[in-house]
Amino acid sequence: MVYDAIVVGSGPGGGIAAYALCQRGLKVALVEAGRRLVPGKDYGRDLPPLDLLARRLKEGKSGGFDSAWDYREQDHFTPVGDRPAHGLLKALGGRSLCWAGHTLRFGPLDFQKWPIPYDEVAPYYARAERFMGVYGYKDGLSNLPDGEYLAPVPMRAGESLLRRGVARLKRTGRAMDYIALRKAMTTGKHASGRAICQYCGNCGGCPIDSKYTSANTPIPLAMKTGNLTVFTNAMLTRILMGREANRVAGIEYTNPDGQTEKLECRTLVMACSAVETARILLANRTKEFPQGLANSSGQVGRNLTSHFGLTVLGLFPQLATRNRSDDAGTGYYHSLLTGMYWDKPNPNFEGTYQVQCGSGLPPQRLFYRGEKGFGAGFKQELLRKNICHVGMNMQGSLLVSKNKYIDLDMDRLDRYGIPFPRIHLRYEDSDLAMAQDVVNVSEEIIRAGGGEVMTSPGKVRSEDLVIDSNHWVGTARMGRNPKLSVVNVDSQTHDIPNLFIGDASVFPQYPEKNPTLTNIALSWRMSERLADKMRRKEI
C-alpha cells in the first residue's frame, strides 16, 4: 500500500497532523518509535502508595510521584558546552504526555520576524484551542492574545501577592502584567469527553486524561475516520528517496522484532522534535543531498534555540496560617509574569522573557528544601517556608547564534546505527544579561508585594542557568529564501516538495511563550496546505 502521507512522530505536531490529514480523507500512517502508554496505569497516580514506590524503584526510577516523564530516553544525545539537555519521550503521544499544558498564543509582535503574520495563524490558534480544551481568563494583553477558553483556574494566594507587587510597580510606569496561566486541561464539559481536572497536580502524567495529549484526543479521532494506521515501536531508520532525486518514496523502520520494514508514501511529514527531526535529516545523506536531506541551505540543525531560566524564591510570612490543601492545583505554576520588553526592547539583551510563578504547598513536591538544621524547629520552619513561599521561574528566549546548533556525533551510534545528535549550547552575554534582569525584577516584585527574597542567584553566572530540555526549536526554520531556510511558508521543504515538517523545528524566531500551541496550530495549517496541494496535484 502507498500511503498518502506518513507522519513520523506522534507528539503535539505529529498527532494533530495525523488527525487533520485523515479528516481530509488522506490515508495516513503514523509512525511512532515508542509504545502506547496507559494513563493511570503506566503513569499518573496522584499519591505515592508503597506498591507504586516499590515498582518505581525496581524500574530504576526515582521515588516520589509517578509521571510520564519517567519514560524519557536517558542516553540519546551528546551534550557539548553549557549543559544542554533534551527530553525525548518515545511513546504514542510523545511529549504531549508529559507537557505542562501551558497554552499561550504567540502575539502579533512575535510574528513580525516570521514570514507569515499573526492573522494567518490566528484561525488555527482558535481551532486548536477549541479542539484541545484550554482553560484561562481573557486578559486583553496586546502581545499575548486571548483565545477561546473553558472556565479559568485562579492563581494561588502567594501568586496573588506577587500580582500585588506587579500592580505597585505598574503604577510607577513599569511595563509588565501578571495573569493566571492558560492550560490545556478540562475544567468543565468539553466536546472531547475528557474527564474534568481534579487538581491532583500530577500534570506530568495526568492520570485521568484531563490534560490534552495527542494520544487522548487527535489520534483516537483520526482512527475513527478509518484513514489512520498507527505503527508503534517503529523506529524510523532511513528515509527512502524515489527515482527523482528530490522526492521521498517512503521510509524504512525497525519493528518491535528488530526486523526492517518499509512503508511507501506520496508525502512524508517529519514531526519528531526539533532535535530528532534535524538529526534524521542530517543522517540521511544522498548524492544529491550530501549535507543531509532538505539541507542544500546548510540550515538544518542551525538556528537552534530554546528557553532557559533560573529560579528566585520569595517568602510571604502572612500566608503561614492558611489552609495549605488549597494549594492543590493544575501543577505548580498557576500564574505568569508577562508583558515585558514586547515593544520596547531592553538595551542590555536581545529577546524577551516571561516568569512562571507558583506558590504554597502542592502535594507533589516541597519547593523549598534549603532549611538548615534538624529537630522540631527545622520541621516547623520547613513547613512554614513552603506554605509561605512563592517561586518565580524564568523562561527566556535563548539568543540564536553560531554557538548553538545540532550536528551528528559520528563516534556514537544508537542501536539502529544512526549517529546520536550533538547539541551545542553556549550561553552568551545577552543570555546572562537577560537572566540578571529576571533576578532583579523578580526580587523587586517580591518586595513590592510585601514579601522577602528567600533564595536568589544574586549575580548571575552561566552555571546558574538551566536550559529547558523540551522547548528546542528552529532547526529547520521557515523562510521565503531557500538559501537561508529549510521550509517555505507552508512548512514544505524547499528542496523536496513532498517532504514537510510538522514540529517546532520550523519556528524562525522564538518569543518567550511556550511552544506547544503554536506547534499544533502550525502543524494543522501545514496539514491542510499539504492536503490542498495533493488535491491540486502539485505534489
Binding site: 493511570g40 496505569k41 506498591d51 472531547s192 469527553g193 475528557r194 474527564a195 484531563s210 502535594p363 529537630g375
Partner: protein, 181 residues
C-alpha cells in the same frame, strides 16, 4: 469541529478516566502490615529510626518520622537503589566512628540525646560537607524529609491534605491507619 466529530473519543477517554479512578480506589494491594526489612538489619533500622525521628520529631501538630515509619521507607529505597544502600552503610560506619570518638561507645549504644549530639556535630557545615559524618547527615536528612512528606502522616497531618474519603490508599503507605505497628 462539532460534537459529532469529537463524540467517538468520549467513550475511550471516559473509560480510561474511569479505569484510572477505579484503580485509585481498588489498587493492587501490597501488604505493608508486616513490612520486612530488606536492606538493613534490625539494629541498623533501629538506629535509622532514632536518627530520622530526631531530624523530624513528633510535635503537637503532627507525628514524626518514627510514626511515619520513615526508616522503613529508607530501607525500601536502599533495597532497590544499591548506591543509596552503600551510602547509608558507609554513613552508619562513619557515625559509629564518631560515636566512639565522642562518647566511647558504638552508635548502637547511644541514647537519643547522644545521637542528637552527633547530628549536631555532623550538621555544622551543612551545605558544604567535608567528611563522612557530614555527608551522612545530608543523606539522612534528605531521605528523612522525603520519606516523611510522602507518608500518610506527612501528607495529612503535616501538610494538611484531607485524607481520601475511603482512606488514603489504605494499606498502601507504610503508616496508613491500621497498618503495622
Amino acid at each position: 469541529m462539532d460534537r459529532r466529530e469529537l463524540f467517538p473519543i468520549l467513550a475511550a477517554a471516559s473509560v480510561a478516566g474511569l479505569q484510572a479512578q477505579h484503580e485509585h480506589h481498588k489498587p493492587a494491594l501490597v501488604s505493608t502490615a508486616n513490612y520486612k526489612l530488606q536492606a538493613f538489619s534490625q539494629e541498623q533500622n533501629r538506629i535509622l529510626d532514632e536518627l530520622t525521628d530526631i531530624v523530624i520529631p513528633a510535635d503537637k501538630d503532627s507525628g514524626g518520622a518514627r510514626d511515619a515509619r520513615v526508616s522503613q521507607y529508607i530501607d525500601l529505597v536502599a533495597f532497590h537503589v544499591p548506591v543509596v544502600k552503600k551510602a547509608f552503610e558507609d554513613g552508619l560506619r562513619d557515625f559509629d566512628v564518631l560515636a566512639s570518638d565522642k562518647f566511647g561507645h558504638p552508635l548502637a549504644h547511644l541514647n537519643r540525646a547522644q545521637m542528637s549530639s552527633l547530628l549536631e556535630t555532623a550538621s555544622s557545615q551543612e551545605g558544604a560537607p567535608r567528611n563522612g559524618p557530614e555527608r551522612f547527615f545530608e543523606l539522612l536528612k534528605f531521605h528523612a524529609v522525603e520519606g516523611f512528606r510522602l507518608s500518610y502522616i506527612g501528607q495529612t497531618q503535616w501538610m494538611g491534605y484531607k485524607p481520601h474519603p475511603e482512606g488514603l490508599y489504605p494499606d498502601l503507605t507504610l503508616d496508613s491507619p491500621g497498618v503495622g505497628n
